[in-house]
């Protein structure tokens, strides 16, 4: 049935094209915004856009961030932290016994129950970020699965300032996304939110209620 439906839909569309010519990118008009931001400006735009939607951005350094993380966990009374032992995050925290760490298991799907009902926060790395919109770029994989940045109530993200790009277009071009997309590519721009009840903004709708970026200056 579906094959017939497919062929009928496509042949209706082909008949419907009539005399109209296919357009090419050469026919495109208009433009998008371009930015020529310095590293400093990128950090500023990223931080402004992120904090405008209630994300915490903490500037830190490559050596200091574990201490900062520890402080933030204590301040927010968060106990169990999910980390990936295979990433720089997990490796840096390997000997930090003060943090109650849960590691991503061999098969990340084994973690489902604990993830849903037991874990307070997660710490992930980021592939990059976007200054224009204040977005983190994540390509989740088996070491840092998709649910990791979604299910725990608080999400910490470790980001290097040098990985901030101007726009989504810039990231896609620089990294050649069109040549091969991952299973899942994500932009995360703030904590989960909704205004579906009387247009009043509430955080923590289905995803994390808090997003905290640990931004490592160069």
């Amino acid at each position: 049935m579906s094959i017939d439906a497919r062929n009928r839909i496509l042949s209706r569309l082909r008949a419907g094209i009539g005399d109209s010519k296919p357009r090419t990118t050469a026919d495109d008009c208009g433009d998008v915004a371009h930015y020529d931001w310095s590293q400093e400006e990128k950090v500023r735009h990223f931080t402004d856009a992120m904090t405008a939607v209630k994300t915490e951005v903490h500037q830190t350094t490559a050596s200091h961030w574990p201490v900062l993380l520890q402080l933030l966990l204590r301040e927010k009374q968060l106990k169990k932290l999910l980390v990936s032992p295979a990433r720089e995050t997990g490796q840096a925290l390997q000997h930090v016994d003060e943090i109650d760490q849960v590691s991503i298991p061999e098969n990340p799907r084994d973690l489902k129950d604990e993830l849903f009902f037991d874990i307070d926060a997660s710490l992930t790395t980021c592939r990059g970020a976007i200054a224009e919109t204040g977005s983190l770029v994540l390509w989740p994989d088996h070491e840092e699965p998709r649910a990791m940045s979604l299910v725990p109530p608080v999400h910490f993200a470790l980001l290097r300032a040098s990985d901030i790009h101007n726009t989504l277009t810039d990231v896609m071009k620089a990294e050649g996304w069109a040549d091969g997309m991952p299973t899942n590519a994500l932009l995360i721009s703030g904590p989960s939110k909704t205004a579906d009840i009387a247009r009043i903004l509430a955080y923590g709708a289905h995803g994390p209620r808090e997003l905290i970026v640990l931004l490592i200056a160069n």
Binding site: M1, S2, I3, A5, R6, I9, L10, R12, L13, A15, G16, I17, G18, R23, T25, D27, D28, C29, G30, D31, V32, A33, E106, P108, F116, T133, S135, D141, P145, R146, A147, L150, V151, T169, M172, K173, W177, A178, M181, P182, T183, N184, L186, L187, I188, S189, G190, P191, S192, A195, D196, I197, A198, R199, I200, A202, A205, H206, G207, P208
Partner: protein, 490 residues
């Protein structure tokens, strides 16, 4: 509001009457639309930039539509290559059966849903329920409507017609351990708790799609809550359902459309989540082991065949046209009686449902032009409304194929005859003068009651003198005056 009569039992006029006479509803919509218009305006501060961006958005959509069948084939083969299964449906019934077959294949009892207007279009929930599969809406707005057994009244903010108090009562009655509260944070947390359990247990996640990228075989979902991400991450099967027109050619076509969509819809530079899915989970990853895409036609191939009406399919569903529409703002979405309300609904629904069912919609507009001015992809909505009005009253020429189902649905002999006499009268000066003269002389005979007109207005009595005769009189006086002046000087 639960005592509301189901939409389809009332005529368009009855629905309009009902909603115009609901002050609370009108207040809600006025406030909400003002809010959304302000949010958009606050983001688009540089008009020059905005116009360039709209040009780009329009170009991208026009380019994609100009080769739609090829792009759909490219998309299909890319998705297959990536491991995503593609299904095609000509009708809502076919689309629903495809979803049910997948559910049955997996022995699924529950399906958790992200927001999908196409699943509203096919009335999927009712169909699944009828066939023993529970469908649970997880978008907060849709969840509220499901509890209330109500329908969306706005395509971006579906429960915008519900007040805090309505929702507090609903949650108190329907959710475990939820006491009456008007505190929105508490209400959202109650719903989150309930829906988390549902996500954890659901067999299948079903969502809509905002854009499909032919070049890479990617499904793009845009949202703020995370329900879309949950539905595409936690259950072992993900079904995406969308219309055939949502495809774009290249990955770099995506960023400008995302910018236009989120800024036009809610005045956000970007939504909290942009979720790009290009395959089922690979070994050791999390996410669904199967991903399906259901592509629905349901009448979309009809406007495609007409170059002017094809522009209807450029729509990216931002809802800016309804937010800025004076008619929608006063009526709300339910009066339209269709899945897609407002200006875009009035030009799209006639194709999906036929003009017999929707003949009043193209006229439910003042043609003020606001919708066309804000449309991020430059759909000339007012022109298309006029075109549909014309198709609704036009008789087909000999051997002419109709461009829409229900062509001529509004044609009446009386109206045709009235316009025929009007055009005769107004194109003959002699007849026009006679008419004007008799109208002014016999003005006393104007009836004081005229059906339709005098319900809300006074009777239109012609003036004592016509404009023509007043101008004539004025000119005469001027001439006499100039002559007098000339005489005085001499």
């Amino acid at each position: 509001m639960s005592e509301r009569i189901p939409l389809h039992n009332l005529s368009f006029k009855e629905r309009v009457d009902r909603d115009l006479n609901d002050p609370a509803l009108r207040h809600n919509f006025r406030e909400a639309m003002d809010f959304l218009m302000d949010k958009r305006k606050g983001r688009f501060t540089d008009d020059h930039q905005l116009q360039l961006l709209r040009d780009r958005g329009s170009s991208i959509r026009k380019r994609a539509l100009s080769k739609l069948p090829d792009l759909l084939e490219q998309l299909e083969s890319k998705l297959r290559e990536n491991g995503i299964r593609v299904h095609w449906a000509e009708t809502p019934e076919e689309a629903n059966s495809i979803v049910l077959d997948i559910a049955r294949h997996h022995g699924a009892k529950t399906m958790i849903k992200g927001k999908s207007m196409v699943s509203e279009e096919t009335e999927l929930n009712e169909f699944l329920e009828h066939n023993g599969v529970e469908a649970i809406e997880a978008d907060m707005g849709e969840f509220i409507l499901q509890l209330a057994e109500d329908k969306p009244s706005h395509i971006v903010m579906p429960a915008i017609h519900k007040t805090k108090e309505d929702i507090a009562r609903l949650f108190e009655q329907n959710l475990d351990d939820c006491e009456y509260t008007e505190d929105v944070d508490t209400l959202i947390q109650s719903a989150r708790k309930e829906l988390r359990r549902r996500f954890h247990a659901a067999d299948i996640g079903l969502t809509g799609v905002n854009f499909m990228v032919a070049e890479t075989g990617s499904l793009v979902l845009v949202e703020n809550e995370g329900n879309g991400r949950m539905a595409t991450t936690v259950p072992k099967v993900h079904i995406a359902m969308t219309g055939i027109e949502k495809v774009i050619e290249r990955l770099d076509d995506l960023p400008p459309l995302l910018t236009l969509l989120t800024n036009s819809a809610t005045g956000q530079p970007v939504t909290t989540y942009v979720n790009m899915i290009s395959s089922p989970r690979k070994q050791d990853e999390d996410g669904p082991e199967e991903v399906h895409l259901v592509l629905l036609d349901n009448g979309r191939t009809i406007p495609y065949a007409d170059e002017e009406m094809r522009q209807t399919l450029q729509c990216i569903r931002c809802a800016a046209c309804m937010n800025h529409c004076p008619v929608y703002t006063r009526l709300g979405g339910h009066a339209y009686g269709t899945t897609y309300p407002g200006p875009i609904g009035s030009i799209l629904s006639p194709h999906l449902l036929g003009l017999e069912e929707t003949k009043d919609l193209p006229s439910a507009s003042s043609l003020c032009g606001a919708c066309g001015e804000v449309c991020p992809v430059r759909i000339p909505i007012p022109d298309l409304l006029r075109r549909l009005r014309h198709e609704g009253v036009r008789k087909l020429k000999k051997d002419e194929a109709p461009v829409i189902r229900g062509h001529g649905a509004k044609y009446t002999h009386t109206e045709k005859a009235a316009w025929l006499s009007w055009s005769k009268l107004y194109s003959s000066p002699a007849m026009y003068r006679t008419f004007a003269l008799s109208a002014t002389l016999l003005r006393g005979l104007t009836p004081s009651k005229m059906k339709g007109w005098t319900d809300y207005r006074t009777s239109p009595k012609p003036a004592k003198k016509s404009l023509h005769s007043l101008v004539k009189q004025y000119r005469k006086q001027q001439d006499q005056y100039s002559e007098k002046q000339a005489g005085d000087k001499g």
